[in-house]
């Protein structure tokens, strides 16, 4: 029930086409950078499903990203890569299960209390991984070999190859976007958007709002774990900081800056946040100050987020909106 202005939809398509050709001309620094950004975009979209979809603002979403990253380490044998065909679904399923347990308590609350509970759970996991030698402690752990993508005993892709990993991230990002779109158009999506807008009325017309919120929390957790898995595949090292509330806050900022009213918002936020950070870092050492100014400017000038930029720049054409669920 959100509408993507046509201009924004075209811009997104153009961006995907640009990304598809990027490895042909960009050097390895940019290939790595954009792989990381696309991972963040998946992460942000998973949180967007919670925030804009079900109306659940989580400040602990990094815990599922962290779980996804660590699970790749735990599932990988020390001397070879783990087959992605079962490791990735297993990681997402395990994260969904963890989200069901945590959510069973957290989604009973709402508003500020939900924020507090998710923050608390995130910090608990951070300290669990930080303080436990068995789980790697403060130094974290390494992925000795990246996951394998093989069929009938033959390797199909090598994730050690940077452009290949880039394309895997691109495919997963587009698939996540389309998958969330499908979910929001399906009866489940209608139900959770209704719950975001008016929880009491949804209860009165026969929806068990607790169950729908819980399932939304689990799906968002699984998708965050997908991003974490991809992160650990790219960097081959994980550490407890992945769970930290700073990471949770950063991804929430991506969602808000991108725009809560657009399904493209979280991805736009991820690209904008990381790229602006990159540019500012290359200009000045005191980039955090400039970064703060950027964020304040976006919030003040574009209350509906960066996704609104297209509508602001081209008000006439944007009036023609396409329905995207």
């Amino acid at each position: 029930m959100t509408r993507t202005p046509r201009i924004l939809a075209w811009a997104a398509l153009a961006a995907v086409i640009f990304l598809a050709f990027l490895p042909q001309f960009a050097d390895r620094y940019y290939i790595q950078l954009f792989t990381r950004i696309m991972t963040s975009a998946i992460f942000a979209m998973s949180l967007g499903l919670l925030v804009s979809g079900a109306g659940l603002v989580s400040l602990g979403h990094a815990m599922f990203f962290g779980l996804g990253a660590y699970l790749l380490v735990f599932l990988s044998p020390g001397d070879a890569g783990v087959p992605i065909w079962w490791a990735l679904p297993a990681t997402m399923a395990a994260a969904a299960a963890a989200a069901l347990v945590i959510g069973a308590l957290a989604v009973r609350t709402s508003g500020i209390y939900f924020i507090m509970l998710t923050l608390a759970f995130g910090e608990m996991l951070f300290y669990l991984f930080h303080d436990s030698k068995l789980l790697g402690g403060s130094d974290g752990l390494y992925v000795n070999f990246r996951p394998t993508v093989a069929a009938f005993g033959r390797d199909l892709l090598s994730l050690d190859d940077r452009p290949t990993l880039f394309y895997v991230a691109l495919v997963l990002m587009v698939a996540t976007y389309l998958g969330i779109g499908m979910l929001l158009k399906a009866p489940f999506g209608r139900a959770i958007t209704g719950i975001r807008v008016n929880e009491q009325r949804m209860n009165a017309v026969g929806y068990n709002i607790y169950a729908y919120k819980l399932v939304a929390f689990a799906i968002a957790g699984a998708l965050a774990a997908l991003a974490g898995f991809l992160y650990a595949t790219q960097y081959r090292s994980v550490n407890p900081v992945l769970f930290s509330w700073r990471e949770s806050g950063l991804v929430l900022m991506m969602v808000i800056l991108g725009g809560l009213r657009s399904r493209l918002g979280p991805a736009i936020g991820a690209f904008a946040l990381v790229l602006v950070q990159e540019v500012l870092q290359s200009i000045t050492e005191n980039w955090l100050i400039a970064f703060g100014v950027f964020i304040i400017a976006v919030v003040l000038l574009l209350p509906n987020g960066l996704a609104d930029l297209a509508t602001k720049l081209m008000p006439v054409r944007a009036a023609k909106a396409v329905h995207d669920g």
Partner: protein, 251 residues
Amino acid sequence: MADLILETEALTKRFGGLVAVDAVGLRVATGEVHAIIGPNGAGKTTLLNLLSGDMAPTSGRVRFHGNDVTGMPAHKLSRLGMGRSFQRTNIFPEFTVRENCWLGAQSRLPTSMRFFGPADKIASVAQRTEEAMALAGLASRAEVTAAELSHGEQRQLELGVMLATDPSLLLLDEPMAGMSADESARMVELLRTLRRNHTLVLIEHDMDAVFAVADTLTVMVNGAVLASGPPSSIRASRAVQDAYLGEGSAA
């Protein structure tokens, strides 16, 4: 004796020291229009909350279609055929009229835990949505955002969302609240239409409307039932006149 769709037994709700609903025994016959009247603070809305499952009673029983449903949550009661509308309009302001009614209609699927395939392709839901909009008199306003409707239309939509759930019993909390004379007259017509296929329990302050549509009146004062019976006997009751109707209304 008429078939009872809803019955309560010594239904009580306490908030600390305050007894908001005091041992109420309500008997609603299938097919009737049963109005609950009483001064502000008499406990009418609290009683409705107990019936709809929005609040759990302190003590007492509620039977719906002969089954004990005491303490059952609202979403389950809704699925058993209890529809509820609210005194303060309780809709989805940012959705269109059709999207509002859609949510009511979709709730009658065995489950909305369906993750694949667009919802709008489900014919049974689409049909119930259109029927509810037509019944609520909003068919021509289907694409209008709810927040942009007039007050009277929002009240109609309030009913439309509920009607889309295809309920057998309607609990209506002041359906005419804040309406102009014209809008009230239209609402009375709508209630007359609805009574053909539904049992209605309504709280209402508009006495003309109440006497125009109700078969049974229950008068509440201070949380308790003062009197219950057909409009003629309530109108004639001395106690009711003293407590509530006042000189102006006692024709």
